[in-house]
Symmetry: C2
Subunit: 259 residues, 2 copies
Amino acid sequence: MPSTDARECVQYARCCHHEKAGQPVNARSARPHAGADRYHHGNLRQTLLEHAVELARAGGPDAVVLRDVQRRAGVSNSAAYRHYADRDALLAAVTTYAEARLADTMMASLRSVPDPGSRARRATARLRAAGQAYVDFALAEPGLFRTAFAPDPARPDHVTHASLVQRGSDLGSLTAPPTAADGLVGQDHPFQILIRCIDDLVAAGVLASDRREGLDAAAWAAVHGLATLFLDGPLRALDSAQKQLVTDRLHDVFQQGLK
Amino acid sequence: MPSTDARECVQYARCCHHEKAGQPVNARSARPHAGADRYHHGNLRQTLLEHAVELARAGGPDAVVLRDVQRRAGVSNSAAYRHYADRDALLAAVTTYAEARLADTMMASLRSVPDPGSRARRATARLRAAGQAYVDFALAEPGLFRTAFAPDPARPDHVTHASLVQRGSDLGSLTAPPTAADGLVGQDHPFQILIRCIDDLVAAGVLASDRREGLDAAAWAAVHGLATLFLDGPLRALDSAQKQLVTDRLHDVFQQGLK
DNA sequence: TGTACATCAGTGAACGCGCGTTCACTGATGTAC
DNA sequence: TGTACATCAGTGAACGCGCGTTCACTGATGTAC
């Protein structure tokens, strides 16, 4: 259940509260020997996810080893199976979490873009900020970034037909928030943020709407390529100034090329 | 010994000759019961590499399982250790092979670009052809492509300082073939081909030399991002027409953005 | 031309680790009466 | 308010597979004499 996982992630991001959304405090958390070493953990599902995230953060998806997660949580080798069907289910939850963190970073970066006056300038600056945040996140959180894009055998492909091409031509010139036609990527997926930035460029008149189709994915590919070459590829040996230079060049080319 | 591996790869590409470069035919291959099931294989190192390549082709780097390679070659579980130090050594040879195939594809594509008259047009068309070949190779040979970029724990990072930034400014405006300053990527590495294409753009006057620095890596990132998102990323579900559309858009943006 | 011997290139059995997963179990908790 | 019982959430031992790697061995080959 991806929606449940997503909710957990948000909880986690808000500093590990134990209550379900809306309820004050879970009865269990307030139990007499809460905090002591009790047989019933109380919130193991959440705790497992947190430790899995830490492992992924430090070592990428392969580091999410069920036994390690459980050991860190202080439970036995099989306790996780009361909460997750198997390792893939736990890893999927971590992936969802990682995607959300990347999206958060991008959104925060967008919000902090100062308003440069014209709408066109603003839209341009926002695309650049989103792309920069994408690369920055990959460099700052390599483990989570890798996990966000770890192929998940269980989950079907994220983006399908409807997502890109149809949208590009049919809705591209609107500023309307993404619709169901945007496909199977969640509303808060990093790609959606890029799509909205490009929508904005069209609406601001920077990008002609007949050149929009497929551009969102192209922009995504550009920053994703930077991230993967910097992280796992042959460019990982560049120092951060060099990486930034390459990133700037790519942004420049895009900015120039959109006109 | 990477150079030995590279030579092997070339041999393999030339349809599995058994002789060493220059020598007519290896004495062993001409032995009485050559071809029969003999105790001494005669050319096991090469045969192992070939089977390893096939496994990588079908399933990527993780599919290069030593036991499988040996079983396919019809030898015992440990025979490979006479020829490769360990699994990593064999995998490194496959990686070298895969890089060479990618480079071949790109070179072949470059050669087939028709001369469109002006040098500027030609240089532009060649960059596009190289990028397109990169993506095409990834889609046509996903296993080899993944293997070409599989992080190799044994081999140090490919590209270092000298490779990108120094080169960009010092040699960028020359058409001279890449020098030692190009770093640790071999002469025939796919990245080198892109570098030469960009050199060409500068020489043809399409790209101002003061905007060259870092552009080679940026272009690489762009096509690499396409390849990885199409292969293992969320865009893998796009059909090939949609993939081509996205690729075209990215090329357009670059072509436009370089001016 | 034949024989002894070093060397090379295989064999095959086994070791050992990592790790997901299963299974019969037991302690704790909430609820019906 | 206490007791019986179902249910939930843990335990811990073990299974079993995949797979790299080691080791003592043996068959084949080339070379010195």
